[in-house]
């Protein structure tokens, strides 16, 4: 909503400064977006008079003028033909910025004659697009006066944001009413008129009350349409509206001035009689914006015998539009229902000042007074005579009483307000108050559609007082519990752990393309968006990996060689809340490390991501079973599935070459996917650790190399070793693995034995070694390598 300060003052009697007004507006909830003073750029330029004009001694086209500035006479060289003695002109002095060039004017010498200023043209001051010669100022203008002031350009334009519940403030009068309630001024009453009609309305009207509850109008004949008077044009221009013709400008004026949209039809172009009804599917309508619209049913329209001539409350039709030849009009003032207007407006996608207001609610009781006031202005400006009023239906307004206890200002709003003051504020906003022994009953005015209960009234009084008056009370009793439950806390810890592993956290879209999801099990049809932003983002992701692969490709394209990414986020199996799983999904691709002076580079491999996953499991205190093979997007021989009993809790492995090819990712890529919320929560009640026994006896290290069949896993070999002497604590590390041919491989282990109660003798050590060798032979068929 835009208005100028002078327009506001037509509705508000105030001595407040622009700054005070601006602060009050924001504090009322009518936040000021910007304030612009069009006179500001012209402020330095003043009215002067040429008292002498002589030909330049060295140039035919130039004149040397003596100029009276108001307190001195200066010499100015001027090239304009219309510069002459006695002319009042606009003077720029050295140091001033010329609006059209943004250059600072300097004292200059023009062909050896000094010039101490410049006489300006309208073009130079950006007052007109092109101009010939310098400005010829009205001889009545006093010398020395600011030219912007003389033109009354110093009228700040105020732009405010109006929330959707405050349709009443889409008018200068409504804004003034709010401001008056704060006590910075007095609201002036809206101008009313009582037009005497001279003939019965020649049109008849049929109205469907479902389409429109209240409709009024009248014919005005014998008028003359043309450009509107200067004051009206100037007013509309000041808020950025283009003047069109007197009739149209008058309706625009009422739309902004009092928030009362109106429409004028050229009555001579109306065929037969008028009806207000709901549209039928397929009806065609050509609007004033010169576009043709095909209507669906249930749109409120105004029609004549030829069909639809106006989309109610949104835009008039071309067939009955007014132009300079118009002599008879039908002036409409109605109440169109917000919901209907909003649905229709969206369907046809027409944005207009009228729709904007009807959608938010136009005061139903302004229908008839608005018609009368607009008629009067048309008669005043265009002449003619008015018919009797045609009115159908009733204004939809009922007085509703809302019980109100002023104590709620304190108990809900946090600000104690004197009941007398509360009463005054409500009164000035147009509310009616009925006082009884229990408190008040409040009747909201017809222009407020947003006030239905006590909390609304609390807001009204608080916003007029200003929210800054509410004292802040320190909040927060000491917490009784941690903000995160253990299952929630764990997710954050997992994220930190993965970052500690050297992986970088990303956050990617929850959606992806249906097409790309196919390699990851596809997207269930219930998870495909009805209105996606693009086909790239048309379904809810079944896995986080596709997004991570795309990120990998993009980073590879930017020459990244080490890529280690993870995301903790949702994936979706079905649209129910249970179908959403929180995942920790990560991926490594390219080099584990770069070549440096002390280390050789190496590519990442499956054991790197295994380490990442084990770090995660260690963090949550779990050790799941690992089964060979993951889902179809993994390499079948290089992947595994993590399980707790029958429950799958995750996958890891090398991604399938087919997947990498589809995503154009270069080099082997290792990944893991963990279903965080499927991991059983630790049942431990205490954070205390088990007791540690520190043995004083010497540990023993022994190396063994076993030859086993190629298909024997390291895991089973280790189990066989540990089983050999369960009474002793052993720690193992595998330090060598290599294939020996003939389907055999060698696995070398270092075993550290921790004695419990005495130092082991050589014989005892021999015995333990023998037990280990036999256990390996018995359990996995391995023999000690000679």
């Amino acid at each position: 909503m835009r208005f100028t300060l002078s327009w506001l003052k037509e509705h508000l009697d105030t001595k407040a400064s622009l700054e005070e007004i601006s602060e009050k507006l924001t504090s009322l909830g009518l936040v000021v977006d910007k304030i612009k003073n069009p006179g500001e750029a012209l402020a330095p330029f003043t009215v002067c008079e040429i008292i002498e004009a002589e030909k330049h001694p060295n140039a035919d086209r130039l004149q040397v003028c003596k100029v009276q500035t108001g307190n001195e006479i200066i010499q100015v060289v001027c090239g304009a033909k219309n510069a002459r003695k006695g002319l009042k002109a606009v003077l720029a002095r050295p140091g001033h910025i010329i609006p059209s060039t943004q250059q600072v004017l300097k004292v200059g010498k023009v062909r050896d004659v000094e010039s101490f200023g410049m006489l300006c043209s309208n073009e130079e001051l950006l007052l007109e697009e092109t101009s010939e010669g310098i400005i010829e100022v009205d001889p009545k203008a006093p010398i020395g006066k600011s030219y912007a002031e003389w033109l009354e350009l110093n009228d700040p334009l105020i732009e405010i944001e109006v929330t959707p519940n405050r349709g009443d403030c889409l008018s200068v009068h409504g804004v003034a009413r709010d401001l008056a309630a704060t006590g910075i001024g007095t609201l002036k009453p809206l101008k009313t008129a009582k037009v005497s009609s001279t003939f019965p309305c020649p049109l008849s009207l049929k109205i469907d009350l479902e389409a429109c509850p209240y409709f009024t109008g009248r014919v005005i004949r014998g008028l003359k349409n043309g450009p509107s008077p200067e004051w009206l044009q100037k007013k509309l221009r000041s808020i950025g509206l283009r003047p069109i013709s007197a009739l149209v400008d008058i309706t625009n004026f009422f739309t902004y001035d009092g928030g009362r949209p109106l429409h004028v039809f050229d009555a001579d172009k109306i065929k037969g009689n008028l009806s207000v009804r709901l549209s039928k599917t397929g009806e065609i309508f050509k609007a004033l914006d010169e576009k043709t619209y095909t209507l669906s049913d249930e749109m409120t329209v105004i029609a004549d015998d030829s069909g639809v001539i106006s989309l109610a409350g949104i835009m008039g039709g071309e067939s009955t539009g007014c132009d300079e030849t118009t002599q008879t009009v039908f002036l409409e003032s109605a109440f169109f229902d917000p919901i209907h207007t909003s649905i229709t407006g969206r369907a046809v996608n027409i944005i207009s000042d009228s729709r904007h207001r009807f959608e938010r609610g136009v005061d139903p009781l302004s229908t008839l007074p608005g018609l009368e006031a607009a008629t009067q202005m048309i008669l005043d400006i265009c002449g003619g005579e008015a018919s009797q009023i045609l009115a159908e239906g009733q204004p939809p307004y009922e007085e509703v009483e809302i019980p109100f206890f002023t104590i709620r200002l304190e108990t809900l709003g946090g600000l104690a307000v004197d009941p007398m003051e509360a009463e005054k504020i409500l009164n000035s906003l147009g509310f009616k108050l009925i006082e009884d022994e229990n408190g008040y009953s409040i009747i909201p005015p017809s222009w407020r559609f947003d006030i239905t209960q006590e909390a609304d009234l609390v807001e009204e009084i608080l916003r007029v007082k200003g929210y800054d008056k509410i004292p802040s009370v320190p909040y927060g009793e000491r917490p009784e519990q941690k903000p995160l439950a253990p299952a929630q806390e764990r997710r954050f810890a997992i994220r930190d752990r993965l970052a500690s592993q050297g992986m970088t956290e990303v956050i990617t879209w929850s959606f992806m393309s249906k097409e790309e999801a196919k390699l990851f099990g596809g997207i269930d049809k219930h998870l495909v968006l009805i209105n996606p932003l693009s086909q790239d983002l048309n379904g809810m992701r079944p896995s986080l990996l596709p997004n991570l692969l795309k990120a990998t490709l993009q980073n590879q394209n930017r020459a990244a060689e080490t890529i280690a990414l993870f995301e903790v986020g949702p994936q979706y199996a079905n649209p129910t809340p249970e179908g959403q799983s929180l995942m920790a999904t990560g991926l490594r691709c390219g080099l584990f490390n770069q070549n440096t002076w002390c280390e050789k580079k190496r590519p990442v491999d499956i054991y790197d991501v295994k380490a990442d996953v084990l770090a995660l499991f260690e963090l949550v205190g779990l050790s799941p079973q690992i089964e060979a093979n993951g889902p179809s997007w993994y390499h079948p021989g290089r992947s595994g599935t993590f399980k707790f009993g029958p429950q799958i809790v995750g996958y890891f492995g090398e991604l399938h070459p087919r997947v990498l090819k589809a995503f154009d990712v270069k080099g082997p890529t290792l990944a893991f996917e963990i279903f965080i919320d499927r991991l059983p929560l630790s049942k431990k009640k205490t954070t205390a650790k088990p007791k540690l026994e520190l043995s004083p006896y010497q540990v023993v290290d022994r190396d063994f190399a076993f030859v086993v069949n190629q298909n024997v896993s390291a895991d089973t070999l280790i189990k066989a070793v540990v089983k050999a002497e369960p009474s002793l604590k052993m720690s193992l590390s595998i330090f060598d693995v290599f294939a020996m041919g003939d389907g055999k491989k060698s696995i070398a282990l270092r075993i550290r034995i921790h004695p419990k109660d005495h130092t082991l003798t050589e014989d005892e050590i021999q015995m333990i070694s023998q037990k280990i060798i036999s256990s390996v032979e018995k359990n996995v068929g391995g023999v000690l390598r000679q």
Binding site: Q453, P483, V528
Partner: protein, 340 residues
């Protein structure tokens, strides 16, 4: 000059000249070894008279002490020189970069979410959650959105096929449905925050189709707007690490709060920046959750995490939050923090 004097002089001169530990040992052997000059002189004592033996013996012992001490002193010097030399030969270029240790980063949004949870946690809020795919009821209807509210229309909301029970499904457009889910299953007093992903169909320099919000909700019998102001002032001052940060509460409009407010912060001494919306929970919302508005009341707020992250860390382009560009993540990300 007698023999002893001669021996002493030769030995001390030799000590001066010797430069290696081996040379020093040779010198020792020549004078003090089994067949060393001084040893031999001492052996000769046996053939002397007792008188001579006493005086000469004392002199020889004194000489031995002198030589031994001089030798030890010289040895220490030579050892020290040797060590110095070795250390010099062992010099490394300490300006060489160390072995790189791979470091990861936490996304700035996660970091901001952590901080918000921590600060509200200190005020007694606990974290509540809800699904991204929401029923229209939780996202709009129960939150008192009129049926024709623009936010309900297609241009803002992502729709999914209706559920098996015929409920329209949407991607939640805000975290506010968590308010409803919480109030329907918990009796007041309630004090929750709900951080999470939210979605709106909009993509330009200042909008992404997915973004993050944190919601707050307090329901009890006495909490009023003064508490709301106090709570958010404390949060903003702690979050932006500015104990005198100025906040401006001004009237706003949300269907699910009344009175409603928008909150601006005075940013870098130059302008008011809108950072969040809040208000007292609308009585209709309480009614929709079977909570009696004549008995209970409270406040709610919601803010965009990207917005506060951008302000705090000087991040300019919203879209880069979701581009997974390692250069950006390494610059704006955070090292994983140690947790309790």
């Amino acid at each position: 000059m007698n023999q002893m004097e001669q021996l002493k002089r030769t030995f001390l001169k030799g000590l001066e000249e010797v430069s290696t530990l081996q040379g020093l040992e040779d010198l020792r052997v020549r004078a003090l070894g089994k067949k060393g000059d001084l040893t031999l002189l001492m052996k000769d004592l046996g053939q002397k008279t007792p008188e001579e033996r006493r005086t000469l013996g004392a002199e020889l012992n004194a000489l031995k002490d002198v030589l031994t001490i001089a030798l030890e002193e010289r040895k220490e010097i030579l050892e020290e020189d040797g060590l110095k030399e070795r250390l010099v030969s062992e010099t490394l270029d300490v300006t060489l970069p160390p072995r790189p240790r791979a470091t990861g980063n936490i996304h700035p949004l996660s970091h901001v979410m952590d901080q918000a949870i921590h600060i509200f946690g200190q005020m007694g809020f606990v974290v509540a959650e809800g699904p991204d795919i929401e029923e229209d009821f939780y996202n709009f209807t129960a939150l008192n959105f009129p049926p024709d509210h623009p936010a309900r229309q297609e241009q803002d909301t992502f729709y999914l096929p209706s559920s098996s029970t015929g409920q329209p499904l949407v991607l939640r457009t805000h975290t506010s449905p968590v308010q409803i889910r919480t109030m329907l299953k918990t009796q007041p007093p309630i004090r929750i925050i709900a951080p999470g992903r939210t979605y709106r169909s909009d993509y330009d320099a200042t909008h992404t189709p997915m973004f993050h919000q944190i919601e707050g909700l307090v329901i009890d019998k006495h909490t009023h707007m003064g508490h709301l102001k106090g709570c958010l002032e404390e949060f903003c001052r702690l979050f932006f690490e500015d104990p005198s940060l100025k906040l401006r509460f001004r009237p706003g409009y949300f269907p699910f709060t009344e009175p409603s407010a928008e909150v601006d912060i005075w940013w870098k001494g130059s302008s008011w920046l809108e950072i969040l919306g809040c208000g007292m929970v609308h009585p209709n919302v309480l009614r929709n959750c079977d909570i009696d508005p004549t008995e209970y009341q409270g406040f709610a707020f919601g803010m965009g995490l990207e917005r506060i992250a951008m302000l705090k860390y000087g991040i300019e382009d919203l879209r880069l939050f979701f581009e997974s560009d390692l250069r950006w993540l390494n610059h704006y990300g955070f090292a994983p923090e140690a947790r309790e």
